[in-house]
Every structure is written in structure tokens, then in C-alpha cells.
Symmetry: C2
Subunit: 156 residues, 2 copies
DNA sequence: TAAAATCCGACTATTCTGATTGGTTTTCTT
DNA sequence: AAGAAAACCAATCAGAATAGTCGGATTTTA
């Protein structure tokens, strides 16, 4: 699971699309204006979203894009994965299973990034486009230090 | 909380440092060789780590770097925050409180990225350098879909 | 047929990363 | 005191990724 501004732009655009669409396609030009994203850049993002099965397109005048599924079923994680290239091969990073071989031995931080990737994926697949629109996004977390892994294990 | 390869290199280097150090400083040249990171790049990272209070330095022959605190108390989140520039001002992103003002109104995805940032921070501050060394990193998560926020709220 | 829109490929400017170079300072060892 | 080992420092650079631009081609509606 890779995080980048590209994914954030895609989510912004889809939230805009979902909140404006009522069974009729929305033109990218409208989204570009409202969200202040360049039209051509949006076209590139939506090409990926279409190939990833996130949106459907209607060509010709009056055309545009629609969500391929109801916003209650479209998870943010699906959006991110559709637009972000899956891996980058530079050393160990969340989502690069092989890139961290250092003298044939898996680098010592591999499991950490792997698990971080899981945590991010879990959170982003617990939030749908609809959740973002209706503001059901905040967890109970807050910004406090938690138990460390050692402390958690020691407490058992 | 920004995630980048810079932070991952820093964690790799600090894990190496902590696992080799026994109260004596370790030269960056040694870490550079073992972890296959360029010495000069490591110098830049450790300059930030020192300014951030993560490591202490000893100059002169036989010198090097030591952790500023025991590895059981050094959280991964502290390392990442020391080396990664805090914000990037382009639009709404986790950790940019102000950058997403679109016509004076907070962008609709703001809370999502904010909460994602919290989730990442929470996980990375639940893991210490010592945890990474001893492999206490894996959660109970696994790669499954969770309840969506709506489903969770509806179940109450 | 004209216009609206998606679709497509190539190109550009900017930023970030990781690395390089060429030093300087400090401090230990001899 | 001399030499060397190391941290320190600043400027620069090549490559990749990001964000955007341009000029069209294709589809479809009106």
C-alpha cells in the first residue's frame, strides 16, 4: 500500500463525484473546476480508476464518469490501489516483498514496514467514500502514546 | 506524520546501531558498509537525528554515534519525525493542518487524512527500536477487510 | 454536422531522493 | 607535536516521481 498525493487527489475527486452524482454521469471538467485540479491530470487519474473498475465512463456530450458501485461499497483502499503504482523496488518498503534482500537475508526492518502497510490498509479499507461524505471518519484514537509492543506482551 | 524512504533508512541505521552498540560509539562508516547506504547520506540523516535528540555523537578517532536513550524507550515514530520534514504544503495531506483551504472551507477529505495520520502515528509509536530488533512487530491484523465505519456505527 | 466529452501519447517543469565532492574541525594515539 | 580517524558542513548533481501541459483522436449526442 503506497501513499502519495496522487491517491489523495483521486479520493478528493471521487468524493466530489459521488456527492454530485445522482445516477447521471459527471464531466471531469466540473470536478476539475470545483476541486481546482488540472483537467488533464484528472483524465490520467480517471483512466487508471476506470481500468481499476472504480468508475465507469460515458462518452460524448452529456457524458462523464459515474462510480462503478454505490459509495457505501467503495473503500478508500480500493481507490488508492487503483491509482498508485504498487511497488517501488528501492530497498525495503511496505509492499515490496523482495526488494530488501541484503546478503540473501531479509532486512531486519522488513516486518515493521510490512505490518505498517497492513495497518494502513486496514484503516483505509474500513472507510468508504460514503463515510467520507458523511464525516464518519474519526476514530477514537486521539494523539496519545500507546503501549509499546514489549509492554503489551509483558502485561499478558 | 510523513512517510518516506528517508525515514526507513534512518530506522534501518538506528536498528543496526542499537544492535551493535554496547555503550561505545559506532562509526557511521561501519553502518554504511553493513547497511549498504552511502556514508555521506548517512551523515545527513544523523545530523537530523542528533538535532532531534535521537542520537549523541562522539568526535575524533574511536568516536561515532550512540543512541540518546535506551532502545526500549526509542519509538519508531520519534525517528521518523526527526528525519522527515513535517509538512508539505501542497493541498490536503496527513499533517498539513492548513494547506487544504478551498474557498475558505476545509476540504472534505481533511478529516480522513488527519485520522490516517493518527493511525500511522499510533502504530509507529507502539513500536520501539528494541521491538524491531527482537522481532516484536507483528500485530494480529492479517490482511482481511474490516467493518466499514458505517457498519460499525450501525451495529451499535 | 457540430459540439461535448472521453481517450491517448508525448512532452515539460518542479520537487524530492539519494549520492557525491571537497573540505573543516575535533580529538585520540603515537 | 604529528598524523589519522572520525564527526561536521555546504554545495552540487543525477535520476525518479509528481503535477501539469499540449495537441490531437474518437465517440456520441443534439
Amino acid at each position: 500500500m503506497r501513499l502519495s498525493t496522487k491517491g489523495r487527489y483521486a479520493v478528493m475527486a471521487l468524493v466530489d463525484l459521488a456527492s454530485k452524482s445522482k445516477d447521471k454521469p459527471i464531466a471531469l471538467a466540473d470536478i476539475a473546476t470545483r476541486q481546482e485540479i488540472s483537467l488533464s491530470y484528472l483524465e490520467q487519474l480517471f483512466a487508471k480508476l476506470r481500468r481499476g473498475g472504480v468508475v465507469r465512463s460515458v462518452r460524448g456530450p452529456g457524458g462523464g464518469y459515474m462510480l462503478a458501485m454505490p459509495p457505501t461499497q467503495l473503500r478508500i483502499a480500493d481507490v488508492i490501489m487503483a491509482v498508485d503504482e504498487p511497488i517501488r523496488a528501492t530497498r525495503c518498503s511496505p509492499g515490496s516483498p523482495q526488494g530488501c534482500m541484503n546478503n540473501k537475508v531479509r532486512c531486519i526492518t522488513h516486518d515493521l514496514w510490512e505490518e505498517l502497510g497492513n495497518q494502513i490498509y486496514l484503516y483505509l479499507s474500513s472507510v468508504t467514500i460514503e463515510d467520507v461524505i458523511t464525516g464518519r471518519v474519526l476514530g477514537t484514537s486521539g494523539l496519545v502514546h500507546r503501549q509499546t509492543q514489549s509492554e503489551r506482551l509483558a502485561a499478558q
